[in-house]
Symmetry: C2
């Protein structure tokens, strides 16, 4: 495909960057259908501009300091907090200044759309601006800021896309404040009922709901949170890997094929409170000792199935040094690449936990201990995400974009992989072609203030994102 | 010893119950030195009066309902709360109406003294009015209300003791709100510095200290909290067993010889937060999985030593379903009848926990699991209580009192035992002759709303308490 300079005519409804002065009647413009490999290469992400956005937005919800440099703090920007509102306001202002029209839906998802040559559902890039309570600067933020950088690169290069392109910020991706992750892309995709999401209570002792907080910060939009009201032609998400694989294998870009399945449960163990000094082991129903055995057993069973099992929350009652707890609740997060692996692991754990609660032995857990009285155990399901397979067309666009950058080194510097974490792309993938791009996480660390991705890798990731969206747009007219 | 009726003379400084009208110049009165077994038997505890006090005071800090009857709720009267203030106000008013002079010390301990024939340090009966957050109606309360019933029984029977007798209410025995148990008898006995106790912060997120709360509720007394300022000739404490032994062996009264040693620690495990979905087991430093192994191992090691180990508090950070916790703190409470047993258990656990933290195997805990990265573990000591041996003179008074009630059945209905729980008597025992009386706890349940001791057993316990104090007073003049 050849490159042509197009002369714009004033009657043509076109995109005009607000910050650049240009003739009102004529200007040069590229159409994406006319970009070849060489011209694609010239659509350069500006590293400093991207990094500035990442660190500038970190002023809202700055977290724990871990080093002396100004950027060496983590993030604590819980969804729909005051800090999140500030980051959202910045997002709206910035994308509008770059020529976008923004829409807020009933879940507070923000969609910023840059017009194209023709009308039609936009291709979106984006991620989330909320963070874990002790999170880092890159999770989610990189995907949003890189998408905004994409707008700047298109403007810089006077590119008019064939169809609109957009930037999306999804609400409460982390599930850290309101305990369903990716809940708002979930509603948008039709997978989670709006009322259920609106009524989610914040974790901890507070009484706020998602709806009350959306109202409070002014982000309860009037547009339905629905892929029918706000359609997407495709969804691309750049994200840090949050794991150690790319770094340890010296790859630069992960070309993500899908997302592993996961299931979240709350396990409730009920025993009997008793005094720690006066109650012999043989007459105790110790809910915490029982939970400790279950947590250890979940690790063992996951090992056996080549899966993962983790407990991130544990609460107990009554909570006094000299009272054996009669009531323990803990979260159980199990993950595997295939749904059937997870089926088998879950069944094993349901059997094992029932035995452990009944004070029976499982795999030597009771060896050297004193047999006690039974507890009861119950499971409640908080979240289920089946294994996700991304769309081959989108994956192909990412491959093409990587090839433009890496050339002959593409195979060496990229890796085909499965995402360990859930992302909003899991839900978008249910209703539109989707894929993801990963960049290395230093030490595999994420959900931690020390989460780090080098400037080079952030920039490479953003470059692949821009290339992927442009490639996808080109293919819409090439057929 | 014969029984004599004494005619009181008006010049003699004597005790006058306020609620009974009597001649201002003469009245009949018993001196305790003149009471023999038959007369001792007539010093009758009134069951209904005692039970009324127990249930009446339960209006302040009423806890969880577990049954339909009016008394079928637990207690939640944390030390120095508004509810505790109300119970204290009742204590002061009631004992003063019964003719006592009350003194409040700098720890809020309340001493109510009924004058005797001669001056001198009083013999005290008492316990504590604070409860666990989800406690019952008898722990502590029985000992205080039975001591008040003792005042009534002495008044009813016109008994003037040789020396003063008193009733004591100790502050924050439970250690549930301010995290050192028996802290105020500890200060009184010279074992805990006043400043340290005053500066104790309440458990949880509040900022109150013991001193600020003593001031707030008006119980920061001006008398030093010291056994020198407020001496005791002896200390008797009636208490529920809080364990299953008396009930299961069908004894009515436990004649307590001492208290088992215990040590409280906070164990701090530090690992590394990481994402639950993206971090393979082999690169995790999972602080909660490590803590779970430690809790299980503490149970095993205590079993080996014939001791006890319990965890009643566990907190973790950051606390999100999809983040492996990098920081866990848990309480460890270990107990044994002998100090040297506890030395050995503590040493084993220090060795075991260091190995577990280093990701090494201890007794098969790592079998079937995936080896991970190390965590660190540190111990801080919150409380140490050596094994306590009660005073043989006091124990002998309890035996004598039980004999008056049970006669030939004494051996069958009483049991020589060691207390599993700490009590204020541990500290009083360091500076004055002390012993305790136990009554059965239904099902061994304590520190729970369903804590229960029958009216018959409460009454028997109070009867033994009255007999023990009177016997002790008699022996002070018999030599
Ligand atoms: Zn994310
Ligand atoms: Zn007690």
């Amino acid at each position: 495909m050849s490159i042509r300079l197009l002369r714009s005519s004033s009657h043509h409804q076109c995109y005009r960057p607000r910050y650049q002065a240009f003739s009102t009647t004529t200007r040069w413009r590229w159409h994406t259908s006319e970009l070849d490999g060489e011209k694609m290469k010239s659509l350069k992400v500006h590293r400093d501009r991207l990094m500035k956005d990442i660190h500038h937005t970190a002023q809202w919800g700055t977290g724990e300091r871990w080093g002396k440099a100004s950027a060496e703090t983590g993030m604590s920007r819980l969804a729909l907090s005051d800090a999140d509102k500030s980051a959202r306001d910045w997002f709206v202002k910035t994308t509008e200044e770059l020529g976008c029209k923004t829409t807020v839906d009933a879940m507070g998802n923000i969609f910023a759309v840059r017009p194209g040559q023709k009308d039609g559902p936009p291709i979106y890039a984006g991620s989330h601006l909320d963070t874990q309570p002790t999170g880092g600067r890159y999770d989610g933020v990189l995907g949003v800021t890189a998408a905004i950088e994409m707008l700047r690169v298109l403007n810089d290069n006077w590119v008019e896309t064939e169809y609109p392109v957009g930037v999306v910020n999804w609400t409460n991706e982390e599930g850290a404040r309101f305990p369903i992750s990716m809940v708002s892309s979930g509603v948008w995709s039709g997978s989670i009922p709006l009322d259920h999401a609106h009524n989610l209570k914040e974790v901890g002792s507070g009484t706020a709901t998602m709806k009350s907080e959306l109202e409070r910060i002014g982000y309860l939009g009037s547009t339905p949170a629905s892929h029918e009201a706000i359609p997407m032609a495709a969804h691309f998400e750049l994200h840090i890997e949050q794991g150690p694989i790319l770094e340890s294998e010296r790859h630069k870009i992960g070309i993500v094929q899908g997302v592993q399945a996961y299931r979240w449960f709350t396990i409730h163990v009920k025993g009997q409170d008793c005094h720690t000094g006066t109650t012999p082991f043989n007459v105790r129903s110790d809910a915490l000792l029982t939970a400790a055995k279950m947590i250890l057993q979940s690790h063992r069973a996951a090992t056996k199935h080549g899966a993962l099992a983790s407990t991130g929350i544990l609460t107990l009652k009554p909570g006094s040094t000299n009272t054996v707890p009669g009531d323990v609740k803990f979260s159980l997060d199990i993950r595997a690449a295939a749904d059937k692996t997870l089926d088998a692991l879950e069944q094993d754990l349901r059997d094992d936990f029932a035995l452990i609660a009944s004070a029976s032995d499982v795999a030597g857990l009771n060896t050297h201990g004193t047999p006690g009285l039974p507890c009861t155990v119950s499971w409640s399901t908080d979240s289920i995400s089946s294994a996700t397979t991304f769309h081959s067309d989108c994956i192909s666009c990412v491959e093409a974009a990587a090839k433009v950058i890496f050339g002959d080194e593409t195979e060496k510097l990229t890796k085909t992989m499965t995402s360990g974490a859930g992302h909003d792309s899991v839900y978008t993938s249910k209703v539109c072609p989707t894929s993801m791009i990963f960049v290395p996480s230093k030490g595999g660390v994420s959900h931690n203030p020390r989460e780090f991705t080098s400037e080079e890798d952030c920039t490479l990731g953003a470059q692949v994102l821009v290339g992927s969206v442009v490639e996808c747009d080109r293919r819409r007219v090439r057929g």
